[in-house]
């Protein structure tokens, strides 16, 4: 007992920041960014909050799924960049939609979309939930230091939502955590307690690029091989692979080590950058809108990131 995907919707804020724009903000070049990451442009919020992005994506998703907000039994949102610690993005989304169901956020950084799929499956297994809305929504431009050329060129803003119903299309998954803060961290605000002695770290994304790359490539390869084997499939059986869009070179390095045909890997990092929990569903949304993803297709997803965390799954679309 798991779920089937009824519909999907995606939304990015209209403002586009190109690599040329980045050149006038920090010491970088379009050539370096493209070579190093595969990114050419990203979308950035000017007035939109993370919840606003989630709302726009959710509206499209629910309309395509012919479902009213009142019919929802649960709203889950995955994000590391909520505008509030509380109320969560899922709470604000529930408010904007006029839904009446419980709502909670999930933070598993860039692996959160797949962690959220597993969480949704668990809720369906209780038998008490029939329709669940899941959303990956990020305003990473708010947790990035725009004076740090190694990180501000990578991240972008966006959201995508999926409507799930009871079903049997979530075939197999694997979640991995290797907890620690020495590779990736986004420190929080310490507060102004006169008693707290710890140093305030810069409240922006800190990332060791090389260690992240190594962890990401190894995880993606191992996790995908493991879920494919667990599902009793071969790498050739997978119709579509959507990896988390962290860096095109990670995807290239993983492709080399897998026997899945190259043209089955999909990405849009060149146009959206790394949108953390929104990255995988934004690719899925585009594939559906372009008619490149069809009912019955076997889809493998792989994600990796802060935590450190990684995850992979196979679902039938």
């Amino acid at each position: 007992m798991s779920f089937r995907i009824v519909s999907i919707g995606g939304y990015v804020p209209p403002k586009v920041v190109t690599n040329d724009d980045m050149e006038s903000l920090v010491d970088t070049t379009d050539a370096w960014i493209v070579e190093r990451t595969g990114i050419r442009e990203r979308h950035v919020c000017e007035m939109e909050t993370t919840s606003d992005l989630a709302y726009e994506a959710a509206k499209i998703c629910l309309e395509r799924g012919n479902t009213k907000p009142e019919e929802l039994d649960l709203i889950l949102c995955a994000t590391v960049s909520p505008e509030y610690v509380t109320p969560t993005v899922s709470c604000m989304l529930q408010n904007y939609l006029g839904a009446t169901c419980p709502a909670l956020d999930i933070n598993a950084a860039c692996s959160a979309f797949i962690y959220m799929l597993d969480t949704a499956e668990a809720f369906f297994m209780t038998g008490r939930y029939k329709k669940i809305l899941i959303v990956g929504a990020e305003r990473l431009s708010g947790v990035t230091d725009w004076t740090d050329r190694s990180t501000c060129v990578i991240f972008g803003d966006g959201a995508a939502a999926l409507l799930l119903e009871k079903g049997d299309n979530y075939l197999v998954s694997k979640l991995v955590t290797a907890g620690g803060d020495n590779v990736i961290k986004i420190p929080n605000f310490n507060g102004n307690s006169p008693f707290y002695k710890r140093e305030q770290l810069r409240p922006y994304t800190h990332m060791n690029g090389q260690e992240t790359y190594k962890f990401a490539v190894k995880s993606m390869v191992k996790d995908l091989q493991d879920v494919i084997a667990k599902a009793g499939l071969t790498e050739q059986d997978i119709d579509c692979v959507v990896p988390h869009q962290a860096n095109l070179r990670i995807i290239d390095a993983a492709k080399k080590r897998l026997d899945i045909p190259d043209d089955r890997f999909h990405w849009n990092i060149d146009r959206y950058g790394n949108t953390s929990a929104a990255s995988i569903p934004l690719v899925l949304n585009e594939l559906v809108e372009n008619g490149d993803l069809n009912r019955g297709d076997l889809v493998a997803l792989a994600a990796f990131g802060g935590g450190l965390s990684s995850a992979a799954c196979i679902l039938r679309w």
Binding site: E35, R36, G209, Q210, Y213, K214, V217, K218, N247, R249, A253
Partner: protein, 74 residues
């Protein structure tokens, strides 16, 4: 031995003749950046079946070969 293996991997990556790569050749001159270096170390790990944590900055082919030899002997 490591140096030779590394030179061969680099020659494939950078698409140049292996004979043009020496111990003092810099990665920069080959158009190899720090992510490529991680990739190379990973390929060597896979080939040799060892874990190598690249925790130093290495600028030349010889420096990387020496680093790897040090890790294997340890």
């Amino acid at each position: 031995m490591i140096l030779e293996k590394l030179i061969q991997l680099l020659a494939d990556h950078a698409e140049v003749d292996a004979s043009t790569i020496k111990a003092d050749t810099t990665f920069e001159s080959l158009g190899i950046d720090s992510l490529d270096t991680v990739e190379l170390v990973m390929e060597l790990e896979e080939e040799m079946g060892v874990e190598l944590e690249l925790d130093e900055k290495v600028g030349t082919v010889g420096e990387l070969a020496k680093f790897i030899e040090g890790k294997i002997e340890a």
